[in-house]
């Protein structure tokens, strides 16, 4: 019996030694970054896989619904793309909900393209700008909650907001807030059009989750597409507003 134990032990020792002697170390690491672009050839098999999906999409996505006279970029704290987008939300939300809306906004990350190129704007472009299935909702907020939301906008470095709102960012707070040409009043109630994603507490807006809400279950993307399509065909040039609605103030 003892002999067997000894034998097993020595095998164990042997295996241990062997595995020790095969110790593997990292000697060096090289890094490269490849740019994937037109210089790479395409793969025929992959193209074949994509083709049937692509043809289905192209049929719907290539419809030109507006003309953009100049590239619009998305920037913090305020940008021409953000201005156009949130003004469209304001205009359409007032129409859809049949009430006067004080302001519309979109979280910065909700607009998914860095810019909308000059020229033809297709349905596909709007899908890429707003790929999320977010819906537009109207919140009725008391002054205190409105301030929390605007502070959140400031803390995030500025979100796209409609022309009815302007503010300064001081540190991570919103100051010098103007709503429809009037200074912000903490005792007033405000109506805000925004994405259900935010109203549900997204982007850490937890404080909005219990707010009074009206929801007609309409996708923001469809609202923007319809906004552009509703203009008469000869008059579909996007009107740009370059006003700095949110400013960073040093203190």
């Amino acid at each position: 019996m003892k002999k067997v134990v000894k034998y097993i032990l020595s095998i164990g020792l042997f295996v241990g030694l062997v595995s020790c002697s095969k110790q593997i170390y990292t000697a060096d690491i090289d890094t490269s970054y490849y740019r994937v672009n037109y210089k790479n050839t395409t793969d025929k098999d992959i193209d074949k896989m994509i083709a049937p999906y692509k043809s289905q999409l192209d049929a719907q996505m290539n419809d030109v619904i507006a003309i953009n006279p100049e590239e619009m970029t998305k920037r913090r704290p305020s940008s021409v793309l953000g201005n156009w987008f949130s003004d469209a939300l304001l205009e359409e939300s007032s129409r859809i909900y049949g009430v006067d809306i004080d302001m519309a906004m979109q979280n910065y990350g909700g607009i998914r393209v860095p810019a909308l190129a000059k020229g033809k704007v297709t349905v596909g472009n709007i899908y890429e700008l707003m790929p999320f299935d977010n819906k537009l909702v109207i919140l009725e907020l008391d002054g205190k909650t409105t301030k929390m939301l605007l502070d959140r906008v400031a803390e995030k470095g500025g979100w796209p907001v409609s022309k009815t709102l302007s503010l300064d960012i001081q540190g991570d707070k919103a100051t010098n807030i103007m709503i429809k040409g009037e200074p912000f009043d903490i005792d007033k109630t405000y109506t805000v059009a925004l994405a259900d994603y935010i109203a549900n507490g997204g982007d850490n807006c937890f404080f909005l989750a219990d707010s009074k809400r009206t929801d007609k279950d309409i996708l923001i993307r469809d609202i923007i597409i319809d906004h552009l399509k509703s203009k008469p065909k000869g008059d579909r040039e996007i009107i740009q507003d370059k006003t700095q609605r949110i400013k960073n103030i040093k203190y």
Partner: protein, 306 residues
């Protein structure tokens, strides 16, 4: 060429060849193994290249072109691993119309070895992700999402071990906190667990129980957060764990021009890398393994392939 010389030279002295006690065959290439790690992140349904419309990224990216690039690398290297670090879904109508089906089928065709889960991979709901998973021939690795009370129970795995030329490479996945980022109606009863704690535990398990020679984390935590320094990131993960050798990241869409080398709790180096987004970039790390000789440095030579 110089690199090869360096490794041969160090191997030589390491084996005590100078004294002539080791047969020459020990010098041959099998003592040095090159592992080529390729990675993407935040491809966001970018099936086709960005359209030629004058926009910033026009003509860049595209799965078909990535396929030929990966193919070329596979033809010239013996040990290639291809990973994705999450946010495969969302960003083009391909996702809105087909729910991620094509993205996963294409990744299977490109022979991805594994991926982790990003926050946007929940955009079709946890049920949508579940329904698309059969289109993937590769595992979804995620160690810090507890799916036990969801439809994804047992559909993912915390880690996978790849063996290449006798070298054991342990790969695990970590995801970002979903609460406040993804509507709960989409991720449902998924329980998020602290990435540092889980990362430490899993990497130790891979190193000691699974005897891995190299431990890689596929992360969707984000590289680092300038305005939210407390927020857990790849940098935090690297500095607060002990057994992770490499973190391949995502979420912050960071185009790196060189990897960030951080020091872990044991004073050892951790390599953090990320490859932008949308498949515009393919990251490549060549790790050289030597038997019996501890490497002196983890120097990173950066090559730009345009």
């Amino acid at each position: 060429m110089r690199r090869r010389d360096f490794i041969v030279r160090t191997t030589l002295s390491g084996l005590g060849l100078a004294s002539g006690t080791i047969p020459l065959s020990a010098l041959e290439d099998h003592d040095i193994t090159r592992l080529t790690i390729l990675h993407t992140n935040d491809v966001h349904s970018r099936v086709e290249p960005f359209p030629m419309d004058g926009s910033r990224n026009e003509g860049q990216g595209g799965v078909s072109r990535r396929a030929t690039l990966v193919d070329r690398i596979r033809k010239s290297e013996d040990n290639v691993l291809l990973f994705d670090c999450g946010d495969i879904f969302q960003g083009t109508p391909y996702f809105n119309f087909f729910g991620g089906e094509l993205e996963l089928k294409l990744m299977s065709e490109l022979k991805y070895d594994a991926c982790t889960i990003g926050n946007h991979d929940f955009d079709g709901g946890i049920d949508g992700l579940h329904d698309q998973m059969p289109n993937a021939d590769f595992p979804f690795l995620i160690a810090n999402y507890d799916f036990d009370n969801t439809i994804l129970r047992k559909k993912t795995q915390p880690y996978k071990i790849f063996v290449r030329n006798g070298i054991r490479i342990g790969v695990f996945g970590l995801g970002i906190e979903l609460s406040g980022l993804v509507p709960k109606t989409l991720y449902k009863e998924t329980q998020y667990q602290d990435p540092i704690e889980v990362g430490n535990r899993i990497s130790k398990q891979l190193r000691y129980d699974e005897k891995c020679d190299f431990v890689i984390c596929l992360s969707h935590l984000g590289y680092k957060y300038r305005n939210e320094k407390e927020k857990v990131s790849d940098v935090h993960l690297a500095e607060n764990t002990e057994e992770i050798d490499m973190i391949l990241g995502g979420h912050t869409h960071t185009f790196m021009s060189e990897p960030d080398i951080r020091t872990n709790k044991k004073g050892e180096e951790v390599v953090i890398n990320q490859a932008g987004w949308a498949g515009i970039m393919l990251g490549r790390l060549d790790v050289f393994f030597e038997k019996n000789k501890k490497g002196k440095c983890v120097s990173c030579k950066n090559t730009y392939v345009v």
